[in-house]
Protein backbone atom coordinates (compact mmCIF):
# COMPACT_ATOMS: atom_id res chain seq x y z
CA UNK A 1 0.00 0.00 0.00
CA UNK A 2 2.76 2.37 0.99
CA UNK A 3 4.62 1.61 -2.21
CA UNK A 4 1.51 2.20 -4.27
CA UNK A 5 0.96 5.63 -2.76
CA UNK A 6 4.58 6.46 -3.33
CA UNK A 7 4.25 5.27 -6.92
CA UNK A 8 1.43 7.72 -7.43
CA UNK A 9 3.67 10.53 -6.28
CA UNK A 10 2.35 11.11 -2.79
CA UNK A 11 4.84 11.35 0.07
CA UNK A 12 4.97 7.88 1.69
CA UNK A 13 5.47 9.37 5.15
CA UNK A 14 1.86 10.47 5.14
CA UNK A 15 0.80 6.83 5.47
CA UNK A 16 2.04 5.05 8.56
CA UNK A 17 1.07 1.78 10.19
CA UNK A 18 1.75 0.47 13.62
CA UNK A 19 0.80 -2.49 15.81
CA UNK A 20 -0.81 -1.09 18.95
CA UNK A 21 -2.97 -3.05 21.32
CA UNK A 22 -5.91 -1.47 23.11
CA UNK A 23 -4.04 -1.51 26.37
CA UNK A 24 -0.94 0.25 25.13
CA UNK A 25 -2.21 3.75 25.66
CA UNK A 26 1.23 5.27 25.99
CA UNK A 27 2.44 3.75 22.77
CA UNK A 28 -0.64 5.09 21.02
CA UNK A 29 0.01 8.58 22.33
CA UNK A 30 3.66 8.47 21.28
CA UNK A 31 2.86 7.18 17.83
CA UNK A 32 0.25 9.84 17.24
CA UNK A 33 2.50 12.62 18.39
CA UNK A 34 5.27 11.38 16.11
CA UNK A 35 2.88 11.12 13.21
CA UNK A 36 1.57 14.64 13.72
CA UNK A 37 5.13 15.96 13.95
CA UNK A 38 6.12 14.16 10.75
CA UNK A 39 3.16 15.43 8.82
CA UNK A 40 3.46 18.97 10.07
CA UNK A 41 7.04 18.88 8.84
CA UNK A 42 5.88 17.76 5.40
CA UNK A 43 3.50 20.67 5.15
CA UNK A 44 -0.08 20.79 3.93
CA UNK A 45 -1.05 18.13 1.43
CA UNK A 46 -1.75 19.57 -1.99
CA UNK A 47 -2.39 16.30 -3.69
CA UNK A 48 -5.58 14.25 -3.94
CA UNK A 49 -7.61 17.27 -2.87
CA UNK A 50 -11.36 17.48 -3.23
CA UNK A 51 -12.86 19.93 -5.67
CA UNK A 52 -14.20 22.39 -3.16
Amino acid sequence: MKNLIEYMGIEPERFQTSWISGSEANKFQQTMENLVADITKLGPNRKLRDMR
Binding site: L4, E6, Y7, G9, L48, M51
Partner: protein
Protein backbone atom coordinates in the same frame (compact mmCIF):
# COMPACT_ATOMS: atom_id res chain seq x y z
CA UNK B 1 -6.81 -21.86 -36.16
CA UNK B 2 -9.49 -23.33 -38.37
CA UNK B 3 -8.47 -26.80 -37.23
CA UNK B 4 -8.87 -25.77 -33.62
CA UNK B 5 -12.22 -24.21 -34.42
CA UNK B 6 -13.45 -27.51 -35.83
CA UNK B 7 -12.20 -29.39 -32.80
CA UNK B 8 -14.00 -26.96 -30.51
CA UNK B 9 -17.20 -27.40 -32.45
CA UNK B 10 -16.94 -31.18 -32.20
CA UNK B 11 -16.36 -31.05 -28.47
CA UNK B 12 -19.19 -28.57 -27.94
CA UNK B 13 -21.61 -30.69 -29.95
CA UNK B 14 -20.60 -33.80 -28.05
CA UNK B 15 -21.00 -32.16 -24.66
CA UNK B 16 -24.33 -30.53 -25.43
CA UNK B 17 -25.68 -33.67 -27.04
CA UNK B 18 -24.86 -35.87 -24.10
CA UNK B 19 -26.13 -33.34 -21.63
CA UNK B 20 -22.78 -33.16 -19.91
CA UNK B 21 -23.15 -29.39 -20.16
CA UNK B 22 -26.20 -27.28 -20.82
CA UNK B 23 -24.32 -24.14 -21.88
CA UNK B 24 -21.15 -23.87 -23.90
CA UNK B 25 -19.30 -20.55 -23.89
CA UNK B 26 -17.23 -19.72 -26.94
CA UNK B 27 -17.04 -16.96 -29.52
CA UNK B 28 -19.02 -16.11 -32.65
CA UNK B 29 -18.51 -13.67 -35.49
CA UNK B 30 -19.89 -10.18 -35.14
CA UNK B 31 -21.01 -7.92 -37.97
CA UNK B 32 -17.50 -7.16 -39.15
CA UNK B 33 -14.68 -9.39 -40.21
CA UNK B 34 -12.52 -8.09 -37.36
CA UNK B 35 -15.15 -8.56 -34.69
CA UNK B 36 -15.45 -11.78 -32.69
CA UNK B 37 -17.66 -11.70 -29.65
CA UNK B 38 -18.78 -13.98 -26.80
CA UNK B 39 -21.39 -16.58 -27.65
CA UNK B 40 -23.48 -18.82 -25.42
CA UNK B 41 -24.43 -22.01 -27.21
CA UNK B 42 -27.28 -23.93 -25.64
CA UNK B 43 -28.07 -26.64 -28.16
CA UNK B 44 -26.33 -28.65 -30.80
CA UNK B 45 -27.83 -26.40 -33.48
CA UNK B 46 -26.10 -23.40 -31.94
CA UNK B 47 -22.67 -25.01 -32.32
CA UNK B 48 -22.39 -24.05 -35.98
CA UNK B 49 -21.89 -20.39 -35.14
CA UNK B 50 -18.81 -20.99 -33.01
CA UNK B 51 -15.56 -19.57 -34.33
CA UNK B 52 -12.00 -19.48 -33.16
CA UNK B 53 -9.88 -16.88 -34.90
CA UNK B 54 -7.31 -14.23 -34.12
CA UNK B 55 -9.93 -11.83 -32.80
CA UNK B 56 -11.18 -14.09 -30.01
CA UNK B 57 -9.57 -11.98 -27.34
CA UNK B 58 -12.50 -11.58 -24.98
CA UNK B 59 -11.99 -13.29 -21.62
CA UNK B 60 -14.83 -15.79 -21.25
CA UNK B 61 -14.09 -16.65 -17.62
CA UNK B 62 -15.63 -13.30 -16.75
CA UNK B 63 -18.93 -14.55 -18.16
CA UNK B 64 -18.87 -17.43 -15.66
CA UNK B 65 -19.87 -14.95 -12.99
CA UNK B 66 -23.30 -14.73 -14.57
CA UNK B 67 -23.84 -18.38 -13.70
CA UNK B 68 -22.49 -18.53 -10.21
CA UNK B 69 -25.90 -18.87 -8.61
CA UNK B 70 -27.46 -21.20 -11.11
CA UNK B 71 -26.97 -24.93 -11.29
CA UNK B 72 -26.08 -25.05 -14.98
CA UNK B 73 -23.20 -27.19 -16.06
CA UNK B 74 -20.98 -25.07 -18.25
CA UNK B 75 -18.44 -25.88 -20.91
CA UNK B 76 -16.12 -23.12 -22.05
CA UNK B 77 -13.12 -22.43 -24.22
CA UNK B 78 -10.21 -20.70 -22.56
CA UNK B 79 -6.88 -19.38 -23.66
CA UNK B 80 -3.93 -19.06 -21.29
CA UNK B 81 -4.98 -15.81 -19.64
CA UNK B 82 -8.64 -16.86 -19.48
CA UNK B 83 -7.74 -20.09 -17.69
CA UNK B 84 -6.00 -18.10 -14.97
CA UNK B 85 -9.36 -16.36 -14.61
CA UNK B 86 -11.01 -19.68 -13.89
CA UNK B 87 -8.41 -20.46 -11.21
CA UNK B 88 -9.10 -17.02 -9.74
CA UNK B 89 -12.82 -17.79 -9.52
CA UNK B 90 -12.17 -21.22 -8.01
CA UNK B 91 -9.83 -19.77 -5.41
CA UNK B 92 -12.38 -17.10 -4.57
CA UNK B 93 -15.06 -19.79 -4.17
CA UNK B 94 -17.20 -18.21 -6.83
CA UNK B 95 -17.92 -21.36 -8.79
CA UNK B 96 -17.45 -25.10 -8.36
CA UNK B 97 -14.96 -27.04 -10.43
CA UNK B 98 -17.41 -29.90 -10.86
CA UNK B 99 -19.75 -27.67 -12.87
CA UNK B 100 -17.15 -26.82 -15.48
CA UNK B 101 -15.80 -28.58 -18.53
CA UNK B 102 -12.78 -26.60 -19.61
CA UNK B 103 -11.46 -26.74 -23.16
CA UNK B 104 -8.02 -25.17 -23.12
CA UNK B 105 -6.44 -23.71 -26.24
CA UNK B 106 -2.78 -22.77 -26.42
CA UNK B 107 -2.88 -19.17 -27.59
CA UNK B 108 -0.53 -17.67 -30.19
CA UNK B 109 -1.56 -14.13 -29.35
CA UNK B 110 -4.71 -12.32 -30.38
CA UNK B 111 -5.67 -9.09 -32.08
CA UNK B 112 -8.05 -6.64 -30.47
CA UNK B 113 -11.42 -6.19 -32.22
CA UNK B 114 -12.12 -3.03 -30.21
CA UNK B 115 -9.02 -1.41 -31.66
CA UNK B 116 -10.03 -2.49 -35.14
CA UNK B 117 -13.53 -1.08 -34.58
CA UNK B 118 -12.05 2.21 -33.43
CA UNK B 119 -9.81 2.39 -36.47
CA UNK B 120 -12.76 1.92 -38.80
CA UNK B 121 -15.15 4.13 -36.89
CA UNK B 122 -14.03 7.56 -38.04
CA UNK B 123 -14.04 8.70 -34.44
CA UNK B 124 -10.29 8.49 -33.92
CA UNK B 125 -7.15 9.14 -35.86
CA UNK B 126 -6.18 5.69 -37.06
CA UNK B 127 -3.62 3.81 -34.98
CA UNK B 128 -1.44 1.16 -36.57
CA UNK B 129 -2.74 -2.17 -35.42
CA UNK B 130 0.10 -4.07 -33.77
CA UNK B 131 0.76 -7.65 -34.79
CA UNK B 132 -0.71 -8.83 -31.54
CA UNK B 133 -2.82 -6.82 -29.15
CA UNK B 134 -1.05 -4.79 -26.48
CA UNK B 135 -2.13 -7.09 -23.69
CA UNK B 136 -0.65 -10.13 -25.47
CA UNK B 137 2.78 -8.68 -26.03
CA UNK B 138 4.28 -9.67 -22.67
CA UNK B 139 2.23 -12.85 -22.18
CA UNK B 140 3.73 -15.22 -19.62
CA UNK B 141 1.17 -18.01 -19.79
CA UNK B 142 -0.09 -18.64 -23.31
CA UNK B 143 -0.84 -22.26 -22.42
CA UNK B 144 -3.89 -22.89 -20.27
CA UNK B 145 -3.09 -23.75 -16.65
CA UNK B 146 -6.28 -25.71 -16.03
CA UNK B 147 -8.29 -27.75 -18.51
CA UNK B 148 -10.17 -30.95 -19.16
CA UNK B 149 -9.02 -31.08 -22.77
CA UNK B 150 -6.14 -29.22 -24.39
CA UNK B 151 -6.04 -28.15 -28.03
CA UNK B 152 -3.34 -26.59 -30.15
CA UNK B 153 0.43 -26.80 -30.05
CA UNK B 154 2.22 -25.56 -26.99
CA UNK B 155 3.12 -21.88 -27.26
CA UNK B 156 6.20 -20.19 -25.89
CA UNK B 157 5.78 -17.30 -23.48
CA UNK B 158 6.72 -13.96 -24.93
CA UNK B 159 9.91 -12.09 -24.02
CA UNK B 160 9.57 -10.49 -20.64
CA UNK B 161 11.80 -7.41 -20.76
CA UNK B 162 8.94 -5.08 -21.52
CA UNK B 163 6.78 -6.33 -18.69
CA UNK B 164 7.95 -3.94 -16.01
CA UNK B 165 9.67 -1.47 -18.31
CA UNK B 166 7.10 1.26 -17.94
CA UNK B 167 6.65 0.62 -14.21
CA UNK B 168 10.40 1.03 -13.73
CA UNK B 169 10.40 4.19 -15.79
CA UNK B 170 7.75 5.69 -13.56
CA UNK B 171 9.59 4.67 -10.40
CA UNK B 172 12.58 6.61 -11.67
CA UNK B 173 10.60 9.83 -11.86
CA UNK B 174 10.46 12.30 -8.98
CA UNK B 175 7.39 12.30 -6.76
CA UNK B 176 6.00 15.41 -8.41
CA UNK B 177 6.55 14.04 -11.88
CA UNK B 178 4.78 10.85 -10.91
CA UNK B 179 1.87 12.76 -9.47
CA UNK B 180 1.59 14.86 -12.61
CA UNK B 181 1.66 11.73 -14.76
CA UNK B 182 -1.15 10.08 -12.84
CA UNK B 183 -3.05 13.32 -12.62
CA UNK B 184 -3.01 13.58 -16.40
CA UNK B 185 -4.00 10.00 -17.06
CA UNK B 186 -6.60 9.61 -14.32
CA UNK B 187 -8.35 12.93 -14.84
CA UNK B 188 -9.58 11.47 -18.13
CA UNK B 189 -11.47 8.77 -16.27
CA UNK B 190 -15.23 9.09 -16.77
CA UNK B 191 -15.98 6.56 -13.99
CA UNK B 192 -17.90 4.27 -16.27
CA UNK B 193 -16.72 1.25 -14.21
CA UNK B 194 -16.14 -0.82 -17.34
CA UNK B 195 -12.76 -1.88 -15.94
CA UNK B 196 -14.44 -3.29 -12.87
CA UNK B 197 -17.08 -5.11 -14.91
CA UNK B 198 -14.56 -6.63 -17.28
CA UNK B 199 -12.32 -7.84 -14.44
CA UNK B 200 -12.54 -11.45 -13.31
CA UNK B 201 -11.04 -10.69 -9.92
CA UNK B 202 -13.74 -8.08 -9.32
CA UNK B 203 -16.39 -10.50 -8.16
CA UNK B 204 -17.79 -9.05 -4.95
CA UNK B 205 -21.55 -9.27 -4.78
CA UNK B 206 -21.74 -5.81 -3.33
CA UNK B 207 -18.88 -3.78 -4.66
CA UNK B 208 -17.34 -1.25 -2.31
CA UNK B 209 -18.02 1.46 -4.86
CA UNK B 210 -21.72 0.65 -4.91
CA UNK B 211 -22.03 0.86 -1.15
CA UNK B 212 -23.94 3.94 -0.04
CA UNK B 213 -23.94 3.41 3.69
CA UNK B 214 -21.28 4.71 4.07
CA UNK B 215 -20.15 5.87 0.69
CA UNK B 216 -16.45 5.18 0.58
CA UNK B 217 -15.58 6.95 -2.66
CA UNK B 218 -17.72 9.71 -4.12
CA UNK B 219 -19.13 9.55 -7.62
CA UNK B 220 -17.72 12.84 -8.86
CA UNK B 221 -15.31 12.70 -11.75
CA UNK B 222 -12.93 14.95 -9.81
CA UNK B 223 -9.28 14.04 -9.79
CA UNK B 224 -9.30 13.04 -6.14
CA UNK B 225 -12.30 10.71 -6.48
CA UNK B 226 -10.89 9.20 -9.67
CA UNK B 227 -7.53 8.56 -8.05
CA UNK B 228 -9.19 7.04 -5.00
CA UNK B 229 -11.28 4.75 -7.18
CA UNK B 230 -8.24 3.42 -9.04
CA UNK B 231 -6.07 3.16 -5.93
CA UNK B 232 -8.73 1.25 -4.03
CA UNK B 233 -9.55 -1.06 -6.92
CA UNK B 234 -5.87 -1.78 -7.53
CA UNK B 235 -5.39 -2.51 -3.83
CA UNK B 236 -8.27 -4.96 -3.88
CA UNK B 237 -6.59 -6.65 -6.83
CA UNK B 238 -3.22 -6.89 -5.07
CA UNK B 239 -2.02 -10.47 -5.18
CA UNK B 240 -5.14 -11.46 -7.15
CA UNK B 241 -4.75 -9.77 -10.51
CA UNK B 242 -4.12 -12.36 -13.22
CA UNK B 243 -2.67 -9.80 -15.62
CA UNK B 244 -5.18 -10.59 -18.38
CA UNK B 245 -5.27 -6.92 -19.43
CA UNK B 246 -9.02 -6.81 -20.12
CA UNK B 247 -9.48 -3.70 -17.96
CA UNK B 248 -7.09 -1.68 -20.06
CA UNK B 249 -8.49 -3.08 -23.30
CA UNK B 250 -12.12 -2.14 -22.66
CA UNK B 251 -11.45 1.32 -21.19
CA UNK B 252 -13.27 3.80 -23.46
CA UNK B 253 -10.79 6.58 -22.69
CA UNK B 254 -7.62 4.46 -22.98
CA UNK B 255 -6.30 4.76 -19.47
CA UNK B 256 -3.14 2.63 -19.08
CA UNK B 257 -4.52 0.66 -16.13
CA UNK B 258 -1.94 -2.10 -16.35
CA UNK B 259 0.68 0.41 -15.19
CA UNK B 260 -0.95 0.49 -11.78
CA UNK B 261 -1.78 -3.23 -11.66
CA UNK B 262 1.71 -4.25 -12.74
CA UNK B 263 3.29 -2.13 -10.01
CA UNK B 264 1.35 -4.12 -7.44
CA UNK B 265 2.12 -7.41 -9.15
CA UNK B 266 5.81 -6.49 -9.03
CA UNK B 267 5.63 -5.59 -5.34
CA UNK B 268 3.70 -8.70 -4.33
CA UNK B 269 6.20 -10.77 -6.29
CA UNK B 270 9.05 -9.06 -4.48
CA UNK B 271 7.65 -9.12 -0.96
CA UNK B 272 5.64 -12.32 -0.94
CA UNK B 273 7.00 -14.04 -3.93
CA UNK B 274 7.93 -15.26 -6.29
CA UNK B 275 4.23 -15.30 -7.04
CA UNK B 276 1.98 -15.30 -10.09
CA UNK B 277 -1.74 -15.23 -9.41
CA UNK B 278 -4.10 -17.88 -10.68
CA UNK B 279 -1.54 -20.40 -11.89
CA UNK B 280 -2.60 -23.49 -10.06
CA UNK B 281 -5.72 -24.48 -8.32
CA UNK B 282 -5.19 -26.25 -5.03
CA UNK B 283 -7.90 -26.69 -2.46
CA UNK B 284 -7.51 -24.25 0.37
CA UNK B 285 -4.59 -22.32 -1.11
CA UNK B 286 -5.20 -18.61 -0.94
CA UNK B 287 -3.58 -15.57 -2.56
CA UNK B 288 -0.72 -14.12 -0.50
CA UNK B 289 -2.63 -11.14 0.84
CA UNK B 290 -5.59 -13.22 1.95
CA UNK B 291 -3.59 -15.21 4.45
CA UNK B 292 -1.65 -13.92 7.41
CA UNK B 293 1.65 -15.60 8.06
CA UNK B 294 4.08 -14.74 10.79
CA UNK B 295 6.91 -14.16 8.41
CA UNK B 296 5.06 -11.66 6.24
CA UNK B 297 7.23 -8.62 5.53
CA UNK B 298 6.56 -5.83 7.99
CA UNK B 299 9.33 -3.32 7.52
CA UNK B 300 6.82 -0.60 6.88
CA UNK B 301 5.52 -0.63 10.45
Amino acid sequence: MKAIENQIKEIAARLLQSGEVNIFLAWEKGDYEYQSKPYFARSVDDVDKIVFDQYCIHNLSNSLLKFRDSSDKIGLVVKGCDSRGIVRLLQDNQIERSRLYIVGVACPGMKDPLLAMKNHSGLFKVETEPEVAAKCQTCRYPNPVIYDELLGDQQAPRPQEARYAQVDAIEQMTADERYKFFEDTLSKCIRCYACRQACVACNCRLCIFDEMRPQWVGRETSLSDNMMYHLVRASHMAGRCIECGECERVCPVNIPLMLINRKLIKDVDKFFGPYDAGIKYEEGVKPPLSLYQENDPDNFI
